[in-house]
């Protein structure tokens, strides 16, 4: 073997590479958030950058894409999505001169028996449950009592958002002293905009649901479409989605771009946190609601700051994906959660 052929266009190399998870860089979700972070950093610092699409969804294909990026001159490779946990576990040994930034996960082997992050890699995860908590809390505080959650698929990040959302809503209800918060909870089965999802959302709105947390990329487009028809509201996810539809009252954001930019900055400063597993929670500005673009009735910046401060201080303990088998097992006191299977 040996692929040591001279490259056709040697001058075209790209220093920072991103490998997309299956899905495109405009998926309204982690691919997009990550890519935007890379673009922002590299354009500011005038660094070449490029993204690569793997041929299929498998560890081997992801590794092949990484190889392609390395051959294309990549020094730093950013990979969003927990599906990269195994590929990066292997790649960090294969390409010792290349640095890996893994978003949404930590490198481990195939059967989870070994978690290991080498000096040339960093794993970044977000406290999505906190972001979901903020959204749920704000919604109930703002006067909504009939809520919905529509996740794409029950992957860990989505589940954390969902659990947090439920707990946040419940906490706000408790503070306000109201009972009977109604939450419908569902995973649509894909991350696409489909008429089925639109119909489901429309049916919830018709039955009285006031706001739906659309938690899964393009799923949001279907929910927004239904919301526009029903004059109802939507909460976006991952990135600030307020520009996509007037129905978006706020978005449960995680600081994908910021995290990527900061990791890249540290790499170029020589302070790369190699070997570490970073958790971007409220304390590291890893989660937030975009208050500038939010359309709340009563929920104010002050309210937000107060609850955010509590999260930073660690005063609020949240159940995560690993703490409850499904959403009906999440402890709530003031709300009724209906899991729509």
């Amino acid at each position: 073997g040996g692929g040591g052929e001279k490259e056709p266009v040697a001058e075209d190399t790209y220093e920072i590479a991103m490998i997309t998870d299956i899905g495109s860089i405009d998926d309204k979700s982690f691919n997009q958030g990550t890519w935007e972070g890379i673009v922002a950093y590299t354009e500011e610092n005038n660094i070449t950058h490029k993204y690569y699409k793997p041929t299929e969804q498998s560890t081997d294909a992801y590794l092949a894409a990484i190889q392609l990026a390395v051959e294309g001159g990549a020094k730093v490779i950013v990979t969003p999505g927990f599906l990269f946990e195994e590929p990066i576990f292997l790649a960090q040994d294969l390409y010792e001169d290349v640095t890996f930034i893994l978003i949404d996960g930590n490198p481990h082997n195939a059967d989870y028996s070994e978690f290991r992050t080498e000096k040339n890699a960093v794993g970044i995860v977000f406290a999505e449950e906190q972001s979901g908590y903020l959204a749920g809390y704000a919604a109930v505080k703002d006067g909504y009592t009939k809520l919905g959650f529509m996740g794409g698929m029950a992957v860990p990040a989505v589940v954390r958002y969902g659990y947090g959302f439920v707990q946040g809503a419940d906490a706000a209800a408790a503070e306000l002293g109201i009972n009977g918060i109604d939450i419908k909870y569902h995973y649509t089965g894909n991350f696409d905009a489909t008429p089925e999802t639109q119909t489901l959302a429309a049916s919830w709105y018709a039955e009285g649901t006031e706001v739906i947390f659309a938690c899964g990329g393009a799923v949001g487009n279907s929910v927004m479409s239904a919301a526009e028809a029903a004059s109802a509201k939507v909460i976006g996810v991952d990135v600030d989605q307020s520009s996509e539809s007037p129905t978006v009252i706020t978005s449960a954001m995680k600081g994908l771009g910021a995290a990527v930019q900061s990791a890249l900055g540290e790499y170029y400063n020589g302070t790369f946190p190699g070997g570490e597993s970073l958790i971007y929670a409220a304390d590291m500005d890893g989660v937030k609601l975009p208050m500038e673009s939010s359309k709340f009735n009563t929920f104010s910046q002050a309210d937000y700051d107060a609850v955010f401060a509590k999260l930073v201080a660690g005063e609020i303990k949240l159940q995560k994906d690993t703490d409850a088998e499904d959403v009906t097992k999440v402890t709530v006191t003031k709300s009724k959660v209906t899991l729509v299977e």
Partner: protein, 319 residues
């Protein structure tokens, strides 16, 4: 009652594009050309028209914008269908092959172009939906019917019904329809009475392209706020609806609504009292429309009404 309205309106969102595209399929098959490229044609129609909306929505909005977009989608579908017509009619090529090629081409092309011309190499095309009609003046206030047909409606729904009526008239009441159908049943007979079979087949394919293109736009507008080079396989479902409808417009209407209704029930079950309490997983509900269709077909397919000459290239010399 609001539940009834909801189910009805949502059924429209599924059924109208299926109806329009299946009618398109009906025209081409009735002229004697199979068109499995309906899916690709939908994608092309949706792509150009939604890109147009995306570009123009700052200067225009509402029904004017939608109507221009509709025209664009129709024209795109027609132009794209010329490839199929040329292969199927002029070159007497295998129609499945050419259809498959167009189905592969359309999404690749839509993504390719979108990435080339949009900033940041983005493939999705966003649009603002300013096309919904809250309530049609006067008609919207009619009890029951107003709620069913004239509130929260799209002009495309009425266009869909208009196309149905037009299809029936064209197929059964005009010279063109008579000739078109003759070409699909017995092209040699048509040829022998001086009908230009090639021209009629071109017409059939182009009509299907136009309607499929329109169907693509109609499919995307009410159910999303962006377009991502896919119509979720609805072109193939429209093909199925056309066969289900036995190549007859009114039966196609029935088939489209049956399927759309089943889809709606399967998607909205969580708010339908009886269904929401039965602890049936959503995957099972999702299968229901397809299983129901198969069952109906099993009992209604004894005699197939497929045009006799469909899929067979017309060759004057052969007999």
């Amino acid at each position: 009652m609001s539940l009834v309205f909801l189910v009805f309106q949502q059924t429209m969102f599924f059924s109208i594009p299926l109806l329009i595209v299946a009618l398109g399929g009906l025209f081409t098959e009735r002229s004697g050309v199979t068109n499995i490229a309906l899916d690709g044609m939908m994608i092309m129609g949706a792509f150009t028209s939604i890109f147009f909306i995306n570009q123009m929505q700052d200067t225009m909005s509402g029904q004017t914008l939608l109507i221009i977009a509709i025209l664009i989608s129709v024209v795109t579908g027609m132009v794209f269908s010329l490839f199929h017509a040329y292969a199927a009619v002029n070159l007497k090529a295998d129609q499945i092959i050419s259809g498959t090629a167009l189905n592969m081409f359309a999404p690749a092309f839509a993504i390719f172009i979108a990435r080339m011309i949009q900033t940041n190499g983005v493939q999705q095309i966003n649009f603002n939906n300013t096309f919904r009609i809250g309530s049609v003046p006067f008609l919207g206030d009619i009890p029951v019917l107003g709620g069913l047909f004239f509130r929260n409606a799209y002009i495309t729904t009425y266009i869909g019904f208009a196309i149905l009526v037009l299809s029936v008239i064209i197929l059964y009441k005009t010279k063109f329809g008579l000739r078109l159908r003759a070409c699909g049943e017995h092209p040699h007979a048509a040829d022998s009475v001086g009908i230009n079979v090639y021209r009629m087949r071109y017409a059939g394919v182009i009509i299907s392209g136009g309607l499929a293109g329109l169907g693509g736009l109609v499919f995307v507008v009410p159910t999303s706020t962006n377009f991502n080079a896919t119509v979720s396989g609805y072109g193939f479902l429209a093909l199925a609806v056309m066969i289900f409808g036995q190549w007859k417009p009114l039966r196609v209407l029935f088939a489209a609504f049956f399927f759309g209704f089943m889809k709606t029930i399967a998607s909205a079950y969580s708010v339908i009292p009886i269904l929401s309490t039965a602890a049936i997983p959503s995957d099972v509900y999702k299968m229901v429309p397809f299983i129901a269709t198969l069952i109906v077909l099993a009992f209604s397919s004894k005699k197939s009404q497929a045009p006799k000459a469909v899929g067979v290239p017309y060759d004057k010399g052969s007999r």
